[in-house]
């Protein structure tokens, strides 16, 4: 019996002179929900692609359920169900045929195929649409069909690359419920990347943060918050042109501020209430009209910000270049 669903050892991937992944090691336990976070261009996608067998690493080892991906890629790929970032369903095929083709590619025997298709359609809540062409589906329906497609061959490991990006709240909640259910009921191991940090916070048993191709933090969400020793967070939201002045006020009361796109944040440290009172006084003395002043427990967002120096979500849509303009950039 193997203890780890996915085991990565000292993974390195170079593209020419660029080192995308630089010695990442991970051991993902069976039955856990594991979140892989990192700013865009941090090496997250490359790591995922290597686990999927799409990319060959420059060096390092990958085992999926104890099977060596580099030696037996076809066998290892059969262990994983995958939901990619882009919704991949064939618009010119019916929901049922979409599932049938992938069921066959995942080597489901013919006599079990129809049963598995029915199971997947039920799982995706698409039983009434089995003969409808996927091209007529809404974004959320396509997403659910794709997720069901990844689950139909009952893999013990599921890999989701930003599964809820671009979904509305209702569909996101449906996907979350689905993931929790298959994790609890069938003990399926889930490895997911996400840019919604609250999603990782809520769903994941453990989180790894990757930056510049290296693993910079690993632990449960609670551990991560404690590990970096962060106290209550003070946040002042205001119009962007006021943020520099607010930042000055933070420094006056002895805080180390970080300026985000529409707010200034800082860990409050000790005597947090007293510091917030002083900030309020200074704000009104300088006639600065802030939208909101708040104190909250550190979120994974704050952890992420402190560790990588960038906010996960703000980097969306930019690649590499965005890293050089992390703070105070106009949008």
């Amino acid at each position: 019996m193997v203890d780890y669903a996915i085991e990565i050892g000292n993974l390195v991937k170079r593209f020419g002179s660029l080192t995308a992944v630089n010695g990442v090691g991970l051991k993902i336990k069976k039955g856990e929900i594991f979140g892989l976070l990192g700013p865009n261009g941090a090496g997250k996608s490359t790591t995922i692609n290597i686990i999927l067998g799409l990319l060959a690493p420059t060096s390092g080892k990958i085992y999926v359920n104890g099977i060596d991906m580099l030696k037996e890629p076809e066998k290892a790929k059969g262990q994983i169900g995958i939901v990619t970032q882009e919704t991949v369903v064939e618009p010119e095929l019916t929901a049922e045929d979409n599932l049938r083709i992938f069921g066959r590619l995942y080597q489901i025997p013919n006599n079990e195929l129809q049963k598995d298709i029915d199971f997947a359609l039920r799982l995706a809540d698409l039983e009434g649409f089995r003969k409808a062409y996927a091209g007529t589906f809404s974004g959320g329906m396509k997403r659910r069909l794709e997720t069901a497609k990844a689950l139909m061959h009952t893999p013990q490991i599921i890999l989701l690359d930003e599964p809820t990006t671009g979904l509305d709240v209702q569909n996101r909640t449906k996907i979350w419920e689905l993931l929790r259910r298959i994790n609890k009921e069938q003990g399926v191991t889930i490895l997911m990347t996400t840019q919604y940090l609250e999603e990782a916070d809520q769903l994941c048993d453990r989180i790894a943060i990757i930056d510049h191709g290296k693993l910079i933090a690993l632990g449960t969400p609670t551990e991560l918050r404690q590990k970096i020793g962060m106290s209550t967070i003070v946040e002042v939201t205001a119009d962007r042109d006021l943020l520099a002045k607010i930042s000055q006020i933070f420094k006056k009361v002895g805080l180390e501020p970080k300026v985000l796109s529409n707010s200034v944040v800082a860990p409050a440290g000790t005597k947090s209430v007293e510091k917030v009172e002083r900030i309020l006084k200074l704000l009104s003395a300088s006639r600065i009209n802030a939208h909101n002043v708040s104190m909250h427990e550190p979120t994974i967002d704050d952890v992420f910000l402190k560790l990588t120096g960038s906010s996960a979500r703000d980097d969306t849509g930019q690649y590499k270049d965005s890293r050089s303009m992390m703070f105070g950039r106009g949008r």
Partner: protein
């Protein structure tokens, strides 16, 4: 076993998508053959009703005999003129393509008969040559009847008896010639535009990447696409043939010939399907791909003798045709459609050339496809 099974699964997928778009696919397969047969068929067939002004100064029996023979075929339309001057006027206006003058006393004269004069307008060489040919034939025929009137424009025809027989293709026509070429051209187009396009659209939609994450041999993807392209080739070619037959082409080898064609079309589909995959892996963009595909297939079909016999091409291009695999395909199809049989040595040569070309293209496709997952991620 796995490769065969996975290839079948992916081929099945192509067929399901094909079925969904059946109408569009069929119409697309019909456009090219219809267009080309109508355009080229009309252009290439022997001209009819070429207008000729005829001046008869003779008014005798032999002269009328000559005129009747001229009108017997429908190639020439005779317009009577009273004087040579008016006739020449019509020629200079371009309303007629030639003027024929039968001299006075033609009928009553003893052999050798006085010369019949033909004035040609060679600014339209096709029409002029038709007139020349017909007058020559008529003179020969009349000569056989009377012994020999001579025609000034074509003295050879009257003096030397020539017996012409069609060794092959007696029942053939230009439609059969052109359809033979079109069948091969649409076969090549069929696989280039189906196999290549599905690769590009699957790449665009992320399907290619999704297939690669499943536990299959990745070459199953390649083989299924080539299979689909080959099938589309067969479909396009047979639709082209059917349209050709409806518009007047014939297959001299009959039903067996129609079946024999399948092997040649299959090889064209296989080789051009493989070429299509190799191109699609490189071209990446639909527009680029369409441009490259077109600029390969069209010249290849033209230089393969699809529309113009290879023997009529300039020497430099003739040399190129030897290295063009479509030359051999077109040859084989013409043998079947016009000559009525594909001789074994020809079959061996044509098949060998097409098989070698298919092998090379298949190798190229495999080579370009090998690193595809690295390119996609």
């Amino acid at each position: 076993m796995g490769l065969v099974n996975d290839t079948y699964t992916l081929f099945l997928r192509e067929m399901l998508i094909f079925k969904k778009n059946l109408g569009v696919n069929l119409v697309r397969s019909m456009i090219f053959p219809i267009l080309f047969i109508l355009l080229l068929g009309a252009f290439g067939s022997s001209p009819k009703n070429v207008p000729v002004a005829l001046v008869n100064y003779d008014n005798g029996l032999t002269g009328l005999q000559f005129i009747n023979l001229l009108q017997a075929g429908s190639s020439i339309k005779v317009i009577s003129s009273t004087t040579q001057q008016t006739a020449m006027g019509l020629l200079s206006q371009g309303s007629v393509s030639a003027v024929i003058v039968i001299p006075s006393g033609f009928s009553s004269a003893q052999l050798p008969k006085p010369d019949i004069y033909v004035y040609l307008d060679n600014s339209q060489p096709q029409s002029a040559s038709v007139v020349n040919l017909v007058v020559g034939q008529v003179a020969a025929k009349l000569g056989a009847q009377l012994a020999s009137p001579s025609v000034a424009s074509d003295p050879a025809s009257a003096s030397v008896p020539v017996v012409t027989n069609y060794a092959y293709g007696a029942a053939s026509n230009y439609e059969s010639f052109v359809v033979g070429g079109i069948v091969i051209m649409v076969a090549a187009f069929g696989s280039v535009f189906s196999a290549g396009f599905t690769v590009l659209s699957d790449r665009e939609l992320g399907n290619l990447k999704a297939f690669l994450t499943t536990p299959i041999n990745k070459f199953a993807i390649l083989l299924s696409k080539i299979g689909y392209g080959t099938l589309q080739s067969l479909l396009s070619a047979y639709i082209g043939l059917a349209i050709g037959l409806a518009l007047g082409a014939t297959v001299a080898a009959g039903v067996i010939g129609v079946i024999e064609l399948m092997w040649i079309i299959f090889l064209v589909g296989l080789s051009f399907g493989s070429l299509a995959i190799a191109l699609a892996m490189r071209a990446k963009q639909l527009q680029t791909y369409a441009l490259i595909g077109q600029s390969i297939v069209m010249p290849a079909a033209f230089l393969g003798g699809a529309f113009v016999p290879v023997s009529l091409l300039p020497p430099l291009l003739q040399a190129v045709t030897v290295a063009n695999p479509l030359t051999y395909a077109v040859n084989a199809v013409r043998d079947i459609m016009i000559k009525g049989a594909l001789p074994v040595p020809d079959l061996v040569l044509d098949s060998a050339v097409l098989l070698i070309f298919s092998g090379l293209m298949l190798a190229l496709a495999f080579m370009f496809f090998k690193n595809t997952s690295e390119q996609l991620s």
